[in-house]
């Protein structure tokens, strides 16, 4: 199985290929409570998300900018635990497949001894489709990769603007689900503009037959359009949604705004796709109605 990394038959890849251009949304679980997260995830699902990433909070989120860092702190202050997180996922019924995004220590510590397997098994049981780990480079990923393969989960790797040459080849050979293309150096966080690095990164990745989704700094429908136009198969939006959670007066207001934001982003992505001229050879499979 793991010897054939270029065979993509996962829920995650299907969600991107079949809904091209795909919208991938992120929200921190437990911010401000797990009950609210359930409503928010459902809103993002209704709004047109094709994949939803759920952040399992870790106390040392070194790859996150201020927005998600604060959300994680709120979630931890509210008492969010890995078990509570999995129970939330048990209850969720969404069209979009769900991924968990968390740091490696959280995966390692689930269970009695430091070991990645209990977490992966519980994730599979809860119905998650994949895992993203911002502090786990390909070099350290073998144990988790094996556990994910054995449990039918995708392990998504991040491609940074600094990832080039041999490293890029090696990581792309490990990618399952999709390649998470980091639009710019630095941490997560909504930005005013789409980074020039996005275009360069997509250019570098164009020869690899793997779905590419771009994140870090995406916050508007126009960004989504621009990114898809640049050749991405999907856009990933996190901080802009977490901002909505943080700034809404009531959870009900947040639900409405999240759904509306997802629609705006999905529309933007579609607009971007319309202006792309695709070589018929490289065209994705036709969309199902």
């Amino acid at each position: 199985m793991s010897d054939e990394p270029t065979e993509y038959d996962s829920d995650v890849e299907a969600a991107i290929r079949e809904n091209h251009p795909a919208l991938i949304t992120y929200i921190t679980a437990g911010d401000p409570s797990l009950e609210d997260t359930e409503a928010y995830v459902e809103a993002l699902d209704r709004g047109g998300s094709d994949l939803i990433e759920l952040g399992l909070p870790f106390s040392e989120p070194i790859a996150e900018g201020r927005t998600i860092q604060d959300a994680i702190n709120r979630a931890l202050a509210a008492g969010t635990t890995p078990e509570g997180f999995f129970e939330l996922v048990d209850d969720l019924e969404t069209e979009a497949p769900l991924l968990v995004m968390t740091y490696y220590n959280m995966i390692l510590q689930y269970g009695d001894e430091p070991d990645v397997r209990p977490f992966v098994e519980r994730a599979a049981e809860a119905g998650l489709s994949g895992i993203i780990v911002p502090d786990l480079p390909a070099e350290e990923a073998e144990p988790l990769r094996r556990a994910c393969d054995d449990n039918g989960l995708d392990l998504v790797f991040i491609i940074a603007p600094t990832t080039e040459g041999e490293r890029l080849d090696r990581i792309m050979s490990h990618v399952s689900g999709f390649a998470y293309v980091q639009a710019r150096l630095g941490t997560t966080g909504a930005r005013e503009n789409v980074s020039g690095a996005t275009h360069e990164s997509l250019e570098r990745l164009s020869e690899y037959d793997v779905p590419k989704a771009v994140g870090f700094g995406v916050s508007t429908g126009d960004h989504a359009a621009e990114i898809v136009e640049a050749g991405a198969d999907g856009v990933i939006v996190g901080s802009a949604l977490v901002d909505i959670v943080a700034s809404s007066e009531t959870p009900e207001a947040a639900v409405d705004r999240l759904e509306a934001k997802a629609r705006e982003l999905k529309r933007g992505a579609r607009r971007g796709a319309e202006t792309v001229t695709i070589d018929p050879e490289d065209a994705p499979e036709p969309e199902q109605p």
């Binding site: 220590n105 959280m106 390692l108 510590q109 430091p114 350290e140 600094t162 990581i171």
Partner: protein, 438 residues
Amino acid sequence: MSTEREHDDGDSGRTGTFGDYGGQYVPEALMPALQELEDAYERYVLENEDGFMDEFRERMRDFGGRPTPLQRADRLSERYDREVYLKREDLLHGGAHKLNNALGQVLLAKYMGKERIIAETGAGQHGTATAMAAAHLDMPCEIYMGRTDVNRQRPNVYRMRMNGAEVTPVEAGSATLKEAINETMRDWATTVERTHYVIGSVVGPHPFPKMVRDFQAVIGDEIREQIRETAGRLPDSVVACAGGGSNTMGTFHAFVPDEDVDLVAVEAGGSSLEIDEAEGLAPNSATLSTGTDGVLHGAMTKLLQAGDGQIVESHSVSAGLDYAGVGPELSHLVETGRVTPANVDDEAALDGFHRLSRLEGIIPALESSHALGYLERAAGTAADGASGDEPRAEANDELGDLVVVNVSGRGDKDLETVLEETEKRDLEAAPDVEVFDQ
């Protein structure tokens, strides 16, 4: 003898591991920078390309003041009825061992063509050393420091500013070293192409633990040479305090192959060794003694963490030891039994601080005071009614007849904390501190 495996032969392709510990757990954006650093470390530090190590040693001598003395502590020797020697890293420029590493890394950054230096600091000693090294080598420098530490280590904040560094307070969490490291990693992930992150201890992703150890190994190398010259043999035991573990590894590295030399790493026992999981607090920083295996700040190592993997807030009266992690090589050496972990509480450290100040005329850093607190506990049972001046009644322990204690830094920076904490306690060796509250 080497304690590390450079390249693990397992499928993982992990590099820079010490047994089960170490590795590179960082965001992808930083991986090429770690590779670049590893290449530079191998060429310049290990192979002395372009005379890097010659220049480093020359600058450590002329700017840093190496070698530092190995001094016989006459009254401690008398008190404990054995030969006690102090390695005087407090006499290094800047007042702590930190310059060994900071100057090495800033010089390396310069050789690598980096344009900017960033660093994090807890007690401020590493920040101060980095700021001094950056000024000395004409590099712009920004230091991240937790707000709590900014408040309790003001003299060092001033010193960093004097040397032209920008000091950026970090407000998150308990606003100490752990949060400062998170923030510095974020900066590095943003500016990695032109910036070098001078990690201040033998922690973080490979190659930092090895590289920092190599820059600090001069401490143990000098001790070996000096003790052979004065005592004609190697010590029975070597004692050093351990937070992240840079002075510890620097002191121990040369002795690791000498199985007859006991190596004792003394951690901060704080006010208790228990972890309060509900509050997410460890009222100590005794990671080697009480921690469990996990991944923090780029490496697999021993950590203070709750059962579900959240890192807890550590505590020590000494800001420099106040960290929930520890170097992976030290974790490995403790796991294999080569290094003995020990810990003393805040009170014993304060007592050690006062004792060295009164008996030897050396005001040690609160970090080093933990090693001295351990010496008092291990070197003899307490004599009834002993004042700070009386020798201990008996000596019955495993330290042996010839002991070296590393005084990793000087205590000027800690005076405010010491006065405040001493007032709360009845310490055997302390002077009357009320006189300071006029």
